[in-house]
């Protein structure tokens, strides 16, 4: 907006300087500040208040808006981080758009930190008010953006995490589609024997969950089905699912990724032959069907994990080895079982107890050094034991390799469809490792279970529920409100856009796309208002609302002087 337009709009700024008791007023003359700011351009009113945030102060703002016909309000007091919502609400009650408010921090970042420099603090406060008023003049009313939400969820993956997510969503009353690639639900658990640390049959456990899923209201199961295309954004996805050659399209509000993980192909590792030298998974199916009669059994941990090529710990293998060792002991108490390990991973209460139990049952634990890998011979393993400083030779008639869970090969395709990232090992990468463990940076898409990282059944289930909860925060509403201070490509700037798409690339939230008309379009529902796109835009066409170039430049000029 030009000066001329401002005059036309009749911009009238009101300035309120807060004493905050003696916190501000004790050091600098707030009355004088207010009086002097009356001289600033477009300022129609200025006053000082003992506490602008008090009921009296808020009433004074409302009264001044009415009496002086103010259409911009500046409060100079503490910090916007705590008090901006209060003042926005106040001017909103007086009939002004809440975005026509600007905050000036003259306490936390002025009087409190320059207590021995009253004059300099005064000058700084004066500058800050001048800058704040200059920005206020340029402020524009903004509306919250409303996005309609389709109250339906799709869960991709019918393992234990996906089923838990789907069950919770359906019980909360949302139409839920559960998509599974295979012809039956259950995922990895279908191939397991017992489940640690409870000695529960995997088939029985998963059977119960599957029957709950089958009997759930609102829950539609799509087996032998695969997601082939995803369009849209939070609340408004269109998902194409292929089933036996037919393609169906679903309108979906939120998507949960629970595609699980895969098993490492052990070929070439430690003499694997699938017969005498097998993986823990193969041992499970043997245990499921037959007794293990072998006497001397050696298990090797971290086979293909915690190595340079695959640096992570798969976190379930130690417990799996302990479980299978105890199961063998159960069938055959005479069996000698040795576990060659690096660090035994049994965190928490029950897992540590389980480890103790295995030791009590006579399972032998021998640590090996990755620098001196165990050597596998036809009937014996040679392993250097540093503790006794000798090479041990341990005979075996069954060698079991604890291989890690690895990311699915087709994660990349799904990630591209969803526009979400993968991490270095090709597992899905969540929005924030600590505080948003089941979100993606892209709104409306969530993650749970070992698709994100190898986890045990307990964590898979709680993460399935967690993803359901996150999806529910969206699905529970007919519409969601999105912050109005978003990026935009205004009509008057459209001709500036060169279509270079750099903005598309820098946006961390996938909020900028090139639409069907080959124009840059901001999906405001996804924009978080960081403004990186505006700072990057190669032809300065994009505008970040509430922090526009024009607004920031006006602050710079107000301070630097024309």
């Amino acid at each position: 907006m030009s000066e001329e337009e401002k005059k036309e709009e009749n911009v009238r700024v009101g300035i309120f300087v807060c004493h905050c008791g003696s916190n501000i007023g004790g050091l600098i003359d707030c009355h004088k500040l207010a009086e002097e700011s009356k001289e600033l351009p477009f300022v129609a009113h200025a006053e000082d208040n003992l506490y602008t945030c008090s009921e009296t102060g808020l009433a004074a703002i409302k009264k001044a808006i009415e009496e002086h016909n103010l259409n911009r309000v500046v409060v100079a007091s503490c910090t916007p981080r705590t008090h901006e919502p209060l003042f926005r609400e106040c001017i909103s009650e007086a009939g002004l758009n809440p975005y026509l408010f600007n905050f000036v921090n003259i306490r936390d970042q002025c009087t409190w930190v320059h207590m021995k420099h009253a004059q300099e603090a005064y000058d700084k406060a004066k500058d800050l008010i001048k800058m704040g008023a200059a920005k206020a003049v340029k402020l524009e009313p903004l509306e919250m953006i409303m996005v309609n939400i389709t109250p339906a969820a799709m869960v991709i993956g019918g393992g234990v995490a996906g089923m838990s997510a789907a069950l919770s969503l359906s019980r909360q009353g949302f139409k839920t589609y559960l998509v599974e690639k295979e012809d039956k639900l259950g995922g990895r658990l279908n191939s397991l024997y017992k489940l640690f640390p409870y000695d529960i049959d995997a088939s029985e456990f998963i059977g119960n969950i599957i029957s709950n899923v089958q009997n759930a209201k609102n829950l539609e199961i799509l087996t032998s089905s695969q997601v082939i295309n995803i369009e849209g954004f939070v609340g408004n996805f269109e998902v194409e699912v292929e089933h036996n050659g037919t393609i169906n399209t679903f309108e979906i509000g939120a998507i949960i990724v629970a595609v699980g993980s895969s098993i490492l192909d052990p070929t070439g590792l430690f003499g694997y032959d699938g017969n005498k030298r097998i993986t823990q998974f193969e041992l499970e199916s043997k245990l499921k069907n037959n007794k293990i009669n072998q006497k001397d059994i050696i298990m090797i941990q971290c086979v293909g994990s915690r190595i340079e090529e695959r640096p992570y710990c798969s976190s379930v293998c130690c417990m799996t080895a302990l479980k299978n060792a105890l199961n063998i002991k159960d069938q055959n108490p005479e069996a000698h079982i040795t576990i060659l390990f690096r660090d035994l991973y049994t965190p928490g209460t029950e897992y540590e107890e389980y480890y103790r139990k295995a030791r009590e049952q006579g399972v032998l634990f021998v640590k090996y050094d990755p620098e001196k890998m165990p050597v596998i011979e036809e009937t014996q393993v040679k392993v250097f034991n540093e503790y006794i400083n000798t090479e041990m030779t341990i005979p075996y008639d069954l060698l079991v390799l604890s291989t890690p869970l690895v990311a699915n090969d087709d994660n990349k395709e799904l990630a591209q469809m969803l526009k979400v990232p993968l991490e270095a090992n090709k597992f899905f990468l969540e929005a924030h490792v600590k505080l948003r463990p089941n979100d993606f940076a892209t709104d409306g898409v969530y993650i749970g279970g070992s698709a994100k990282w190898p986890v045990d059944i307990t964590e898979s289930i709680s993460q399935g529920y967690a993803a359901a909860s996150r999806a529910s925060t969206i699905l529970s509403h007919d519409t969601i409100e999105v912050e109005g201070a978003t990026s935009c490509l205004p009509e008057y700037n459209k001709s500036l856009c060169t279509g270079c798409e750099v903005c598309v690339k820098v946006c961390p939230f996938n909020a900028i796309i090139k639409n069907e008309d080959d124009e840059i379009e901001i999906i405001e529902a996804l924009c978080k208002g960081c403004g990186v796109c505006a700072a990057t835009c190669t032809n300065q066409a994009l505008v970040i609302r509430h922090f526009t170039d024009d607004q920031i430049m006006s602050e710079i000029f107000a301070y630097g002087g024309e």
Binding site: T79, P80, R81, N105, R107, D108, Q109, C110, W112, V113, H114, M115, K116, H117, E120, A121, D123, K124, D127, L128, M131, A431, H432, A441, A485, T498, C500, V502, C503, K505, V506, P508, F509, K528, G529, C530, G531, V532, A534, A535, T536, C537, T538, N539, Q540, I544, F547, D549, I552, M553, E555, I556, F557, Y559, G560, G561
Partner: protein, 253 residues
């Protein structure tokens, strides 16, 4: 009386601004020289903001954001870093690069906020007033800084910096990754070229000039000026006006 620097700071809302507030709550005392502009993310800070501030005679500009990895918007501070580096390189052409600074200050670093601001004040005080300060700005330098300001607005530089992370950190469609050094060479060349071109445009603001005149005025090799002229002509920013004798005169469009 000793010189009191006039400083400006851009603080991201989530970490640095919160850190500055914490300094307040903890009553950490630091010199009152810096005025703060709050932005949501340090990645919002357009190079032009910094250059404009210096052009106005402000003695120093500070940009502060979340520590790498802590960005509220995931990666905004990486972008801030790239943009800042470019700005610094541009300003190094006129020796003003030591008047801008970038730092990461977290919401718990109230003490550190006070420390880094104090240090900045001290360092700028040691440098002395900006040669562009309001009382008596160096007009020659001012022209150069204006050229830098314009250069920072060119599509070429903005596109390069905007794509920098993609180019250097991710593979392109051919599975190639451009090494950081190689990219920097590319960027350095581009920066110098665009700076010179903007200087040429500024020099042509009032009257038309020949390549030779421009070369003398801007202390550049005539061949280089000619090359730039052709590029600028290609961009429809300059054109021949007339030919006097054998010498063509260029004008700005």
């Amino acid at each position: 009386m000793s010189f009191e620097p006039k400083l400006l700071g851009f603080l991201c809302n989530w970490c640095s601004y919160a850190g500055a507030d914490l300094a307040g709550v903890s009553r950490i005392q630091y010199p009152p020289n810096m005025r703060v502009i709050r932005v949501m993310c340090s990645g919002r800070v357009d190079p032009k903001f910094l250059i404009q501030a210096l052009e106005l005679g402000i003695d120093g500009v500070y940009v502060m954001g979340c520590h790498i990895g802590d960005c509220h918007y995931l990666e905004g501070n990486y972008e801030a870093l790239r943009k800042f580096d470019m700005t610094k390189k541009l300003l190094s052409f006129v020796g003003l690069d030591n008047r801008i600074r970038l730092d990461w200050v977290s919401a718990s670093e109230g003490v550190r906020f006070g420390e880094v601001v104090s240090k900045f004040v001290e360092d700028i005080r040691a440098l002395g007033p900006s040669p562009l300060s309001r009382d008596n700005p160096d007009q020659e330098l001012l022209k150069k800084v204006k050229a830098i300001n314009m250069a920072a607005g060119t599509k070429r530089l903005r596109a390069l910096v905007g794509r920098q992370r993609k180019i250097t950190e991710e593979e392109n469609v051919y599975g190639e990754k451009v090494p950081e050094e190689e990219f920097n060479e590319l960027l350095d060349t581009a920066l110098k070229e665009e700076y010179d071109r903007q200087r040429i445009l500024l020099a042509l603001a009032r009257d038309s000039k020949s390549v030779k005149d421009l070369a003398v005025e801007l202390s550049l090799e005539p061949s280089l000026v000619l090359e730039h002229m052709l590029t600028l002509k290609g961009r429809s920013q300059v054109d021949f006006q007339e030919i006097i004798g054998n010498t063509p005169l260029f004008m700005r469009i």
